[in-house]
């Protein structure tokens, strides 16, 4: 499964990049600078998808006590945090020439930042507990609490700024994009998604192996007999 996902991700990514950097026309307002959205938007989408996957896996692990699900949830966290950081960094790089500032207290930016803090809290909690089983379940509770809170945070942040000041920021409309830009964007999203799947599976495999390192079946796979 992992090679399949990685290869598909590589193909989609390559096609998306060619389309994004070579074939898509420059934007009439933003020139070439807009091309960063081909990385930015997939990263931002994946940052929330990763949280959803993490929370689902955590819930599954908590309810049915599946170690594999906990391993998947734990592997999602750091990747999700990286996607969130990537979205923030590319967003601010894009914001500098376009908005004239690296950081704007825009609702979307702010809720993305809070999402990053949630990820960091999750990882912090996990690393603070030595016992794996306990760390699994405690961080799963936190992931679920976060999932309930995320929409509230999102809407409160939206509401917070929309009442403060009217924004004159550029916004991406859904349909305001010609197919020559939309296709590479979708391809890049697919590539990011497949890449995410491949990495999560790889990391989860590593995590499962590490957890079960005392188990007999691993010794049989590796060809080492336990002493």
């Amino acid at each position: 499964m992992i090679p399949w996902l990685s290869w598909l991700a590589a193909i989609c990514g390559a096609a998306g990049l060619i389309g994004a950097l070579g074939l898509a026309p420059p934007d009439y307002q933003q020139g070439e600078g807009y091309r960063i959205i081909f990385v930015h938007v997939p990263a931002a989408v994946l940052s929330t998808v990763a949280y959803a996957v993490m929370a689902t896996a955590a819930g599954v692990g908590l309810i049915w006590r599946m170690n594999v699900a906990h391993a998947v949830a734990a592997s999602c966290a750091s990747i999700g945090a990286w996607f969130t950081a990537l979205a923030l960094v590319t967003g601010s790089l894009w914001g500098r020439p376009m908005w004239g500032t690296y950081w704007e207290w825009d609702p979307r930016l702010t809720s993305e930042l809070v999402l990053l803090f949630l990820y960091l809290g999750y990882m912090g909690l996990r690393s603070a507990i030595d016992d794996t089983a306990r760390a699994d379940r405690a961080s799963a509770v936190l992931a679920l609490v976060g999932v309930i809170n995320l929409p509230i945070i999102h809407y409160s942040v939206d509401w917070w700024n929309s009442l403060h000041q009217g924004h004159t920021l550029l916004k991406f409309g859904k349909a305001s994009m010609p197919p020559s830009m939309l296709t590479p964007l979708l391809l890049m999203m697919l590539a990011f998604l497949l890449y995410f799947g491949a990495i999560v599976l790889t990391r989860a495999r590593g995590a499962v192996l590490r957890r079960e390192r005392q188990a007999r079946w691993i010794g049989e796979i590796v060809g080492v007999t336990a002493p």
């Binding site: 809070v114 803090f117 960091l120 909690l125 306990r134 405690a138 509770v141 609490v145 976060g146 509401w159």
Partner: protein, 232 residues
């Protein structure tokens, strides 16, 4: 007594007993719940010192200063919510009592709020006046902080449960709870800002109340789950 075995204590009665016990314990150690209050005063004093003490500026800053200080001092108070009871085994007894743990922990949160949240709310008008808030704004500020501090106590209890018995609990607790407290901060500060501007602050108040209701229903369940994990 009258055929009542210790097991037949009803949940409501047990919650009431727990509230009385925690209140009595808290009253015997006033230092613990006075510290967050003093911290609140100190932090709010730092704001004018760090910026400039013109009343008009301070008035603009008042909601932010009040709410950030309230948030931080409630965070400070959270550490002691389960610490003592976790160490001496009381929490284990509660978990084993056969009564709904979420209900018992809700009682504990109530006491925690009474001892640390309520003094903060009562102290807030003083600070608000020092920041140049008009008299007419005081009731709304009180109401906003009243709702907000309840929500903070409830949400914070989840974090306190999760960090139960951890060595580096303090900083981690802040990292866990602060992002979850963002909505409370936004709506609370907004209500306060509207109140100081002498405008109707009903809309953010309703949102705050909704958050209180939501956290009162869901947070005890999560806290109970977290505490059970922490006791393993």
């Amino acid at each position: 007594m009258n055929g009542h075995s210790p097991n037949s204590v009803s949940a409501a009665r047990a919650g009431w007993l727990l509230i009385q016990r925690d209140l009595r314990l808290g009253m015997r150690r006033p230092g613990e719940w006075l510290q967050p209050l003093v911290f609140f005063f100190v932090v709010t004093t730092l704001f004018p010192l760090a910026t400039d003490p013109q009343m008009s500026r301070l008035r603009d800053m008042a909601p932010g200063a009040l709410w950030v200080a309230a948030l931080l001092s409630s965070l400070l108070a959270l550490e002691m919510l389960f610490r003592e009871d976790g160490q001496d085994g009381t929490l284990e007894q509660l978990a084993l009592s056969g009564l709904p743990l979420s209900w018992l922990l809700l009682s504990k949160s109530c006491v925690h709020w009474l001892l640390t949240g309520l003094p903060l709310v009562l102290a807030a008008p003083l600070v608000a006046m020092a920041f140049g808030a008009p008299y007419a704004a005081i009731p709304a500020i009180l109401a906003a902080l009243l709702l907000g501090s309840v929500a903070l106590s409830l949400i914070g209890a989840v974090g306190a449960g999760l960090t139960l018995g951890l060595r580096r609990g303090g900083v981690l607790l802040a990292l866990l709870v602060l992002p979850l407290a963002v909505p409370v901060l936004i709506f609370g500060a907004h209500a306060t800002a509207l109140a100081i501007a002498l405008e109707p602050a009903a809309a953010p108040m309703y949102m705050l109340a909704a958050i209180v209701v939501l956290s009162a229903t869901l947070a005890p369940l999560a806290t109970a789950a977290a505490v059970r994990i922490g006791l393993e």
